[in-house]
Subunit: 500 residues, 2 copies
């Protein structure tokens, strides 16, 4: 059964004095008003970590109550930072099954009331336990991905900096036109360069902010101008060191492929997209993983202006997570609200994309480990059949053939000491509680081909380190420590070899 | 699209040394083996509060990883203590929508590793915030419901005690035959009476224990011997004082009605049921709310032996939450696993119900505020049409017409002082941190018809209090305190009246 959208709503994102349930009620109320409904058959509620951020539990019931919908079935859904999209997916199936006619999807998070250190700690809990032990934060892992991306696609440090700045500048510019955005001021390259280094090479302006906000969508089985065409969902291992690749997210590629198949659309059909830019580089990687650009070409599209609001394929017309803000549970649904605004022509003169008929939203859960891709479409659009394609679901396949490589869990423990190759690294300046700043973290590939996380409290200057260089790995307090591979360490190794 | 069950599994419930993800993997592995599947299209995961019980987040991804199903979409679902049933519902719609063929539902909780006081605090977070401020715990609220039930249906304190004991004795007896149960020892009335008073009139043996455990079910669109016939879900206000009734759960009644309508079955078709007995009285109330017995008659059926394992309508053949144990997130799904065992004839000689063809599971979220009812059926059963009923979904309605009364939220604040009627009360002995024990709590109906929670630290002896008696309400430290309505308080009131 086809599923349509009959109403959307959201609060202004930013710092709010309202309690979370009231913010969510505000978003819900707008969506229900647009849908001309006073009641729904079910509520699907996305909040990532209401237990720790707000100290509440039994939140699905609390929300039904707050909305004045006491009695209505209410289910909380969570998929880490893609929670809003996860709730949308669950609600979609409830309607598609024919069991429900009208369902409210509601997502939100309240984060700004806590000290930043506490918020960072809560957000870090999504990271693999053993990587967290090293002091790895979300920006630290994203920074290591950015370094690896630059290396893989031959971007100099200055070039990488320039590209990342361009993402931030573009998204702040888009956000300046969005009345719901947390940041409505444009930024310059100078502003970007002045912003504080969080985890080399990522600055504060590379990271989505801490935000309060809520978003809502009403799904219905009755035809409306906006149709849900496709959805795809995939996971990947939480441990970054077990990933098949550090420069693309397999979970995005699989989710995208599923969404294209369900929608019977190709990447080339997508006219604009909301791409999960929790970190600036993720927007570029996202556009590649979605098949919108080839691997390693996302930054070129950005440079050529293709992804600008007035470009051929606008990315993050809303301002993205970067400028609209990132209340973790709400973002995945807020992206879909923006797609609806654009498809209906309701985005306002400055932000409106011309002739918007198909839009895509891409939401990342955790560090790229629980991702969803959703495609919305105007239901009055004339689908033009391409030569050689058929309209039957069976046998149709999209022009999108990514290399899907699911990581395999390592079962043999890596050696406790030895030579390895530095795969990527970062120097983290905003360290979590209990860790000295700055803190250098890296991934090292051992002799036996396994990847381990390692730290080096002594190397404070990233320019002494290089991806691809040999390092010497040791265990200290049950953590891997890596050092420069010197003549000295070579000698020790040789002596050890003799004694074996 | 019809949905079937192709495999089930569960761990032994009780105290486990295994981490939660490993326990869940054990249950999943049994279910997948039964279903003869190595992979599924999605995982729906029920954990109530993994954040606080275990300190984990991003659990849906972690589980996919632990199961060796990295890549598979994984969604966490939560509806308080009915979470296992909530995850089952979400998964059911995913299959019913035609988007998925094989889906794994997995539910679990790990609780025994924490000190009891901390577990009690986490469990108490599901209670309405202002009722929690008085020191109300789940047993305290359940005790007040038990007192009210006894009053409404004219049960003397001794009679109530006897009935509650009978539920505990029956469920422990059933549990003794269940290899998955936490408690496999039978108990006597003497054991029951010796058990510690938790919240008058509820003893330790009236309360489900703290448990570790996991359960799993594979849903499929391909016909198997076990079919999902119906499901219903409803909420109610978390605040007990705003409920339309204290002796029945509207959320159970609404959920049951929806399940009967979907299954096109009547309460009289149900051959056995797993009923959420987090507290002994809830089993009796549950059988009434489900329409299996008339209001106020549930205890009679128990006395007559109807609900015994060899009775006409066995209730909780597994031992229920009371004896099988209650790992909060897992229980709702474990009930369904038991129904499947019974329908397949796999429950073992001692526990197996004869000719089991239709079973019902009833799961309560919070204090009766997010409830689900699910009906499973043997798909080879010959449905016999009753005279006057039709098989078309349109127009068919079950022989079940409960009075559905959704509570209305009170908007006018109740008075800060005045006379009221004591609606129900308890004396709580196992008080939460920061509260003196014993602690007397009650619900008082004010002059203006509103219900408020109130405490009385002075009345320690429940026999001095009576439901239906006048009390005098005061505010002390922003909490209502109630006192006996004496000549003295009457005089103060009269003087106040004069001065107005």
């Amino acid at each position: 059964m086809d599923v349509y959208i009959s109403g959307v709503g959201m609060t202004k994102f930013g710092r709010s004095k309202e309690p979370l349930d009231k913010m969510m009620a505000e978003a819900a109320s707008s969506a229900l008003k647009e849908a001309q409904l006073e009641k729904v058959e079910a509520i699907y509620l996305g909040v990532m970590n209401v237990e720790e951020f707000v100290g509440d539990s039994n939140f699905a019931t609390l929300l039904a109550d707050t909305l004045g919908l006491t009695g209505v079935p209410s289910t909380r859904v969570e998929t880490a930072s893609s929670t809003g999209a996860g709730a949308f997916e669950a609600a979609l199936y409830a309607v598609a099954s024919g069991h429900m006619k009208h369902v409210l999807v509601l997502a939100g998070e309240k984060m700004t009331h806590l000290p930043t250190a506490k918020t960072t700690r809560i957000l870090s809990e999504v990271i693999d336990r053993s990587e967290r032990r090293y002091g790895a934060t979300m920006p630290a892992l994203a920074a290591m991905i950015a370094q690896k991306y630059a290396r893989e696609f031959n971007l100099s440090p200055l070039k990488l900096e320039d590209i990342l700045a361009q993402v931030a500048i573009k998204n702040h510019s888009n956000g300046s036109f969005n009345p719901y955005a947390q940041f409505r001021k444009i930024i310059t390259k100078e502003d970007y360069l002045k912003s504080q280094m969080v985890a080399f090479p990522l600055r504060l302006y590379d990271c989505a902010p801490i935000t309060d906000g809520a978003s809502a969508i009403v799904l219905t089985s009755q035809p409306t101008p906006i149709k849900v065409s496709g959805i795809g969902h995939a996971t990947d291992t939480a441990a970054l060191r077990h990933r098949a690749s550090l420069t693309s997210f397999n979970s995005t590629k699989e989710a995208a492929q599923k969404a294209y198949i369900m929608a019977q659309l190709n990447p080339s059909d997508i006219q604009f997209a909301e791409v999960h830019d929790a970190f600036t580089l993720f927007e570029i990687m996202g556009t590649e993983d979605l098949g919108l650009f080839s691997p390693g070409e996302g930054w070129k599209a950005l440079e050529e202006g293709i992804t600008l609001l007035r470009g051929r394929l606008p990315i993050n017309p809303s301002g993205g997570l970067k400028a609209r803000g990132h209340p973790v549970g709400a973002s995945g649904l807020a992206q879909l609200v923006e797609i609806v605004y654009q498809l209906r022509g309701d985005a306002g003169r400055e932000r409106q994309i011309e002739r918007a008929e198909i839009g895509l939203a891409h939401s990342i859960g955790g560090l790229g480990n629980n991702n969803l891709v959703t495609i919305l479409e105007r239901s009055d659009r004339n689908r033009i059949l391409k030569v050689g394609t058929t309209r039957s679901r069976e046998g149709w396949s999209p022009d999108y053939h990514p290399e899907i490589r699911v990581s395999k869990k390592v079962t043999t423990p890596p050696p406790t000491e030895g030579v390895g190759i530095l795969e990527t690294f970062t120097t983290l300046y905003a360290t979590p509680e209990g860790f000295r700043s700055p803190l250098t973290l890296g991934f090292v590939k051992t002799d036996t081909g396994e990847m381990v996380m390692a730290c080096n409290p002594d190397y404070r200057f990233p320019n002494e380190l290089k991806i691809g260089k040999k390092v010497y790995l040791k265990m200290r307090e049950r953590l891997y420590v890596f050092e420069k591979f010197t003549l000295w360490s070579r000698l020790i190794r040789w002596i050890k070899g003799l004694s074996e």
